[in-house]
């Protein structure tokens, strides 16, 4: 039935602008997208002559789910946060990738040894970057909060808080701000009481939250005054400070670090081409280019290429104050908490 509806929709829309593309690659846009375009997409296009449509999305699995269930695959390669990867893979929205075909690092070390452990942990993805969800403050009007607890303290630090409109990371932060130890966060969140506690904590700042959908909106909100502090991927804020001299400060307290992987949409007719792209994009040099936006590369051979000066800006330098995003937890609880989160939003 979904197929029929989609057919109707397709009939109604007739010509699709995507028809002329050899490969559609979807990622998160903004400064990160620009770095990927420079170091991965453009060199690949130059080398192979493939036409690539480079699209943006806001993350999450909803769009993949819709495409696969409707049998209307529009993306070929997609950049996924590992927090969503386990779920997307287990629910059958991604192809299983043959990791044995990945090329060795530029220093000759075989791929299996060159990639860091987590980068090849899931059979549906090949690690791309190590990144982190941090919060950032605009220091133009004086110093902002320096801990997650202070981020939730609207009396000491009034003003709007920009948060990404999904339960992931927000629930974790709410519990940490409420006094749960970082190592107990996921265990607590698996219980009804823990979830209620997280929502109760989020309730205390609900009126001051500005919700956004896509990572690229975070630095914009901070810049135009839409929010005094925002949740963001660390690279976006780094790029805004580095390139535009924005008066922002990255706060690493309780950052939630994660990997991004390249994955292939299930059922795409361009699977071979997609695999060719992933093999290219996860070689040593393209991966090392992600340092432009302060994301750590997932190959040891690429980490060796980084200058000392950028290392302090990478999530890997702050692991002691961080929490590792748990993809398996979110695979199990993503649906339940997603629904509760949405109901909470509407209350």
């Amino acid at each position: 039935m979904k197929k029929n509806l989609t057919l109707l929709a397709t009939l109604a829309l007739t010509a699709s602008p995507l028809a002329a593309q050899d490969l559609t690659v979807t990622s998160f846009g903004g400064a990160y997208g620009a770095a990927q375009k420079e170091h991965m997409i453009d060199p690949f296009v130059a080398e192979t002559g493939t036409n690539i449509l480079f699209e943006d999305y806001g993350g999450g699995i909803a769009e993949m789910k819709a495409q696969v269930e409707a049998g209307n695959i529009q993306w070929d390669v997609v950049d996924i946060e590992v927090i969503d990867l386990e779920r997307a893979c287990a629910e059958g929205y991604l192809e299983v990738i043959d990791q044995s075909v990945l090329p060795a690092g530029d220093d000759g070390v075989a791929a299996a040894d060159d990639f860091i452990e987590d980068a090849l942990a899931n059979e549906c993805g090949v690690g791309n970057i190590v990144w982190s969800v941090v919060f950032a403050v605009n220091t133009e009007n004086g110093p902002g909060p320096q801990t997650i607890a202070e981020f939730f303290d609207t009396e000491a630090f009034p003003g709007k808080r920009g948060l990404r409109k999904r339960p992931q990371v927000n629930m974790e932060w709410a519990l940490i701000a409420d006094g749960v130890a970082p190592e107990d966060v996921y265990e607590t969140l698996a219980t009804e009481e823990g979830q209620a506690r997280a929502f109760a904590k989020l309730d205390t700042i609900k009126a001051d939250i500005v919700w956004y959908d896509s990572w690229s909106q975070a630095p914009v909100l901070l810049n135009d005054g839409g929010a005094q502090m925002v949740q963001s991927a660390n690279g976006r804020i780094f790029a805004a400070i580095q390139d535009d001299g924005a008066p922002f400060q990255i706060v690493w307290d309780s950052h939630v670090y994660d990997l991004d992987v390249w994955a292939i949409m299930k059922g795409t007719p361009n699977k071979e081409k997609a695999m060719e792209f992933i093999q290219f994009a996860t070689r040593t040099v393209p991966l090392s280019g992600m340092q432009d936006v302060a994301y750590g590369p997932t190959r040891r051979s690429a980490q060796a290429l980084l200058p000392e000066s950028v290392k302090q800006d990478l999530p890997t330098a702050h692991l002691d104050v961080g929490l590792k995003a748990d993809g398996i937890f979110w695979a199990d609880y993503g649906e339940t908490l997603g629904e509760k989160f949405n109901e909470w939003l509407l209350q």
Partner: protein, 413 residues
């Protein structure tokens, strides 16, 4: 018989009849494209939507054996081990086919919180070998999670397995089935409030467009042709501008550091910026602007046709201007007012894009939730039920309108 009466031969009559038939066929062929279009673009989607809102075969297709085994289970106690083992085998197969996520979602809709149980169990069963599972499935299932030992869980599975169900309509009005078969209020009340809010916002928008549109249409209808045409451009220009552009313009105006706030602060009316964007207020103001032409155009068309001598006659006979307007002009312009109000109200009840862009969480309407269930939670059945209710609501309002105002009283020009 006719052939004898009119003196026509049988052949002539047949020819004439054939001619008439041919013309009918020709006339029909002319409307075929329209008919096909209406069926494809209007009747079929609505019929599909109505069907989908009560029909959901996903679970029945995924675990037919388990459901068959559950069919003669009383529902009071835990089903026997054969059922549990069958489900454990099914769950492993689904985990390997990557369909366990689908069944988890479906069971979760019948019993919130089950999604994580199903998924975690499916992941653990993937590693068990088939022979072990076939003999020991029930025990493995019970060991994986305590909730498999609760009859509630199995009632939820059985309920999710029904191919035809009215449950989505219950959810649409914030009700749910209890374990005992009764119907109670859901814990979280969302949709009824949203329907009321949607209707209230549509009503406010309609009243605002009347307030703004009626005097404007009146002025234009009685101005000189040149001035009326000039003013008409100002009504039509925004009408022709892209909806997105107009909505985004409101974002620029209303945002925290936007034009309105900086003006208010520069003139000293307020000290701190007022939060206007991403609220119900911004949705109403932007939609009033966008829908205003739908009010002005039918009003103007009808008012142009009203002879101004009626008003002059009433006033010359001693009526006050306001009284004359109320007794003479208002009833005569009512068809235009009805048409405009109906257009604006019905369009705004189903409006999607403007609340989505400027509404934040506060200004969301029922259509945004329907879109959410279509695009994000992928609960197309619930989206269909919510949509069908909205359709029903609009038909009901139209019927009420017909009862009290009369559809003859609608005129677009």
């Amino acid at each position: 018989m006719t052939s004898l009466d009119t003196g026509l031969s049988r052949a002539d009559a047949q020819n004439a009849a054939r001619e008439v038939r041919k013309r009918k066929v020709q006339a029909f062929l002319f409307v075929v494209p329209l008919l096909v279009f209406v069926v494809l673009a209007f009747v079929a989607p609505i019929a599909t939507m109505l069907y989908r809102s009560v029909h959901n075969p996903t679970v029945a297709n995924l675990v037919p054996e388990t459901l068959a085994a559950l069919s003669d289970w009383s529902g009071e106690t835990l089903p026997d081990d054969a059922v549990l083992t069958q489900f454990a085998v099914d769950l492993k197969r689904m985990a390997n086919d990557r369909t366990s996520g689908q069944i988890a979602d479906e069971i979760n809709r019948a019993l919130p919180g089950m999604s994580s149980v199903v998924k975690a169990t499916a992941r653990s069963l993937r590693r068990v070998d088939d022979a072990d599972l076939a003999t020991n499935g029930a025990a493995l299932l019970l060991a994986a999670n305590d909730r498999w030992a609760e009859p509630d869980t199995w009632r939820a599975l059985k309920a999710a397995g029904r191919v035809y169900t009215a449950d989505y309509y219950l959810t649409s009005v914030d009700l749910e089935h209890t374990a005992g078969g009764g119907i109670v209020q859901r814990d979280t009340q969302i949709y009824k409030k949203l329907y009321v809010k949607t209707l209230r916002m549509a009503l406010i928008i309609t009243l605002l467009t009347i307030l703004l549109g009626y005097p404007l249409a009146f002025y234009m209808a009685h101005a000189s042709d040149g001035l009326a045409n000039f003013l008409m451009v100002f009504v039509l220009l925004p009408f022709w501008t892209s909806l997105l552009v107009r909505t985004t313009a409101w974002i620029a105006l209303l945002q925290t550091n936007g034009v309105v706030n900086s003006t208010l602060m520069a003139t000293g009316i307020t000290d701190a910026p007022i939060e206007m964007l991403y609220t119900e207020f911004s949705t109403i103001i932007a939609m009033t602007h966008i829908l205003l032409p739908f009010m002005v155009l039918p009003l103007y068309a009808v008012m142009r046709g009203i002879d101004s001598s009626f008003m002059r006659a009433a006033i010359s006979m001693g009526s006050r201007p306001l009284g004359a307007w109320y007794k003479i002009y208002l009833p005569m312009s009512l068809p235009g007012l009805s048409a405009g109000a109906l257009l604006v109200f019905i369009i705004s009840v189903g409006y999607y894009i403007t609340p989505a862009l400027v509404g934040g969480t506060d200004g969301q309407m029922i259509s945004n939730i329907i879109a959410f269930h279509m695009r994000e939670s992928n609960n197309w059945e619930l989206a269909a039920a919510l949509g069908s209710l909205l359709l029903l609501l609009i038909l009901l309002l139209y019927w009420l309108f017909d009862r009290f105002v009369g559809t003859d009283n609608i005129k677009l020009g």
